[in-house]
Every structure is written in structure tokens, then in C-alpha cells.
Symmetry: C2
Subunit: 217 residues, 2 copies
DNA sequence: AAATCAAGCGGACCGGGGTCCGTTTAAAGT
DNA sequence: ACTTTAAACGGACCCCGGTCCGCTTGATTT
């Protein structure tokens, strides 16, 4: 019962959290009125265009609304808040990565053995986090929401599953959290940009970590 | 050369980052003019008081300035921005934890063997992160600054040192990052509050992680 | 086709973060 | 004690995220 409230904006597109995690890439929200759907698309396109020009950090809601030719209220009605808009953009860009590890070719996809997939997952995620660093960063305004973002939940269940399949006994979920925490976008940026560490070394760190956690049996 | 710019506020108290990490708990900035030092104290006290009343999230800079009996510009001159003020508050509260693992009694302090200290470090940090969750959260507005916060750099060097002393070969620093990443305040909050996981299990996760990374020799 | 009405729309409005710059004042020099 | 000057002060000001509420419009029913 996500949308039965009285406030101005009952609920944005967000799935709320009651429903179980869908393992398909995040889809469009269901049944928007024609004009609403059209405006949603316009807004995302406008945001993407503006962001390419001036960077995610300088993206203002007013500008997005203006560029899309709609009122500001419409943006907030559709996406809830600035973070919501950025997450929507990010989710869209993340579908490629999701497809790769959910159903792509080995070693990332399901045709490789679990341990191999786990090793391959790190570098893929590292590059993803690096490539979309700016957007990811800007969408962190509300840290508490991090664990509610569908893409992140999907990563968690995926890694947890790989760990179990690879024979981990014990708290696979906590281990998954620890593993994912080691590829935080901000950390990757800190290491590679601020400290100038080559990506290979970050990759090596991941492989080292995985190897230590899952000693070859 | 961090503070040689011309803008209105050359540089706040911040040590900049050029100097090497001091291993003492973060000290007061040097040689403020008498009125400035007095106002700094007043501001921190006012902020602390207000925060106790309404929570870090609702702390406004106007309110702090008013409560301290100074102008708003003074707050920003002293602390740079809101984040700076919160970090200053946090640093102050963190000195207790720092003292504990830098020079406190075993098993946290230097009188215990490295591996034991490492095991003890987790639960201590977990509780610290939980206790100050709200403040930590509010001070995350600018994620990029995370790795510049003295307290965090101190943790990193500490854990790196313990890992090396415990006989880790290879990239101890990356391992330390991974370990610390697993005790992120937001994660701890997510696990214990949102998911209702008992603290013991989080502790156990830490011990498990450490044991896997450092198999008993 | 007309009526009905929930959903969508938009822009005036508000509060808070951050800046600017003219004024004040502590401290160093004479 | 007087001058000098760089630092500190303070509050008016700007910008942007987010809200409110009266108006409009696409869908649905009769």
C-alpha cells in the first residue's frame, strides 16, 4: 500500500519496497497517463543532455524542468526529489552492467563457474563505478537510501548467491556486504584519481580479497 | 600550498592535507586571534547543544550562529561550510575512540598482539559508528572529503599497520580499505536498525572476515 | 457526445546553504 | 599611547531544492 496517502505527491515512481526484488533490469513504472509518460521521457532526456554539458553536480532542477518544457512541480511529482531523478538516470545506465552479469557471456555470466564469475565481477564493477562516478556521487545526497536502490540490492543478492555457490559456509550476506563495500565508487575514485593508483592494482586487490576469502578447496 | 588563494575565506581551520598525518588526536588549529578562538568555542558548544535538541539533520547554520551570538558569516569563515562544522564536532567526539586504540588498555591498545587488536577493533568501531550515526550521516554531504578527514586517515593507517604486524604479505592498504569499508556507518545502521540484525551478528561478521583474511599461522 | 473526476500540471512561494563586502577590532610596530 | 594593518565580523543578498494549491486535461462512464 504505497500510494494511499494524502500528501501532494502520494508516491513517485518508486516501487516502495514492499514488493520483492525483481531480478529483471528495472523497468518503467506501470500505467502512467499519456502526458505523464511523455513528460517523464522528456525530463530524463533533458537531464541527460544537460548533464553532459555541465556535469551532474551543477544540474539544477529548474534547468531540467525548463529544458524539458515543463513546470518544476512536474519534475518533483515524477521523481520525488533530486536524488530520485539521478537514481533514475543511473538505473538506466546500469542496465548494461546488470545484463552482463545476469545473462551475459562467461566469465561474468551464468556459463562460468561461481568462483570465476566472482573474480570477474570485481573488475567489471570497478570500471562501472569509475565510469559513472560523477552521477553516483551526486545521487548520494541521501546515504540512507543507498540500500533501497534496486541496482544495489541486485548486486548484493548476486554476490551473496555467488558466494554460496562457491561453497562459503556462514554468513554469506555479510561477506557480500564487505566485498561490495570494497568497491565503493568514492573509494575507487580516491585510489585511482587522488592517489593515482593504476586500475590493475585495484583489480589485484579484489582478486586478492576474493582469494583470501575463498581459499581454493 | 593549500591556503594561498584570494577568495573571501582563504582557508578554514582545516590542516589542508599537505602535512603528514599526525598520530595524535586532532588538535585545535594554531594561533587564532583571541576573539576568533572564543567564537569558535562558542559555536561548537552552541552546535552541540542545538543538535542535542533537534538532531543533526535539522541543525541550521543560522540557528547555530544565532545561538552562539555571532553572525552567519563567522560560522562559514571558521568552518568553511556545514560539513566542516559537523566534521569538527565529530572529530572532537572521536578522540575517545582514538585514544582507546592508540594508547588504551589491551586488547584494543598497544599491549595486545596485533591480531588480537584487530579483532577488538571491529566491535569498537561498530559501536562508535552506531552511536554517532546521525552526526556521521549528516557530515557526509560531500563524500569526496571522506578520505581527507583526519580521523578516517588515522583509522586507515592504524589498520594497515596492524595487518602488516599480523604478517600480511601483499597490499595491506587495500585490505585495510576493504576491512574499514565493511564497517561503514550507513551499513551498520542498515543492518541493525532497518534489518534488525543483532549487534553480535555484525561483530561475528567482522571476526569471520578477519579470520578468513588472516588464517591462523 | 457529454459529463465526471482522478491524475497531472506549473509557477509562486519558502527556507536554508553559501557568498560578498563594508565595518570593526585585536595585535604588532613606533 | 598612537598608528597601522591584516584578520575577523555580520547581515544583506543570491541560488536552489522542495512545497502548495488552484487550474487543466486525459481517460472513463453513461
Amino acid at each position: 500500500m504505497t500510494g494511499s496517502a494524502s500528501p501532494p505527491f502520494p508516491s513517485p515512481d518508486a516501487p516502495g519496497g514492499a514488493t520483492e526484488l525483481a531480478l529483471t533490469p528495472v523497468g518503467e513504472p506501470p500505467s502512467l497517463r499519456a502526458d505523464a509518460a511523455r513528460n517523464r521521457t522528456r525530463l530524463l532526456e533533458a537531464a541527460s543532455r544537460l548533464m553532459a554539458g555541465c556535469g551532474a553536480a551543477h544540474l539544477t532542477m529548474d534547468a531540467v524542468a525548463a529544458a524539458a518544457g515543463v513546470g518544476k512541480g512536474t519534475v518533483f511529482r515524477r521523481f520525488g526529489d533530486r536524488t530520485g531523478l539521478l537514481v533514475a538516470l543511473l538505473d538506466h545506465r546500469e542496465q548494461q552492467l546488470q545484463a552482463a552479469f545476469l545473462s551475459g557471456p562467461a566469465p561474468l555470466g551464468p556459463d562460468a563457474p561461481p568462483l570465476e564469475r566472482l573474480h570477474a565481477f570485481g573488475p567489471a564493477l570497478i570500471r562501472h563505478e569509475r565510469d559513472h562516478h560523477e552521477l553516483i556521487l551526486s545521487s548520494r545526497t541521501d546515504p540512507l537510501r543507498t540500500y533501497a536502490v534496486p541496482a544495489n540490492r541486485l548486486r548484493l543478492t548476486h554476490v551473496t548467491m555467488l558466494l554460496r555457490q562457491a561453497g562459503v559456509e556462514g554468513d554469506a550476506e555479510l561477506l557480500a556486504h564487505a566485498l561490495l563495500g570494497s568497491i565503493d565508487s568514492v573509494l575507487v575514485h580516491h585510489l585511482t584519481v587522488e592517489l593515482g593508483m593504476p586500475l590493475d592494482r585495484v583489480d589485484a586487490g579484489w582478486h586478492d580479497l576474493v582469494s583470501r576469502l575463498l581459499p581454493a578447496r
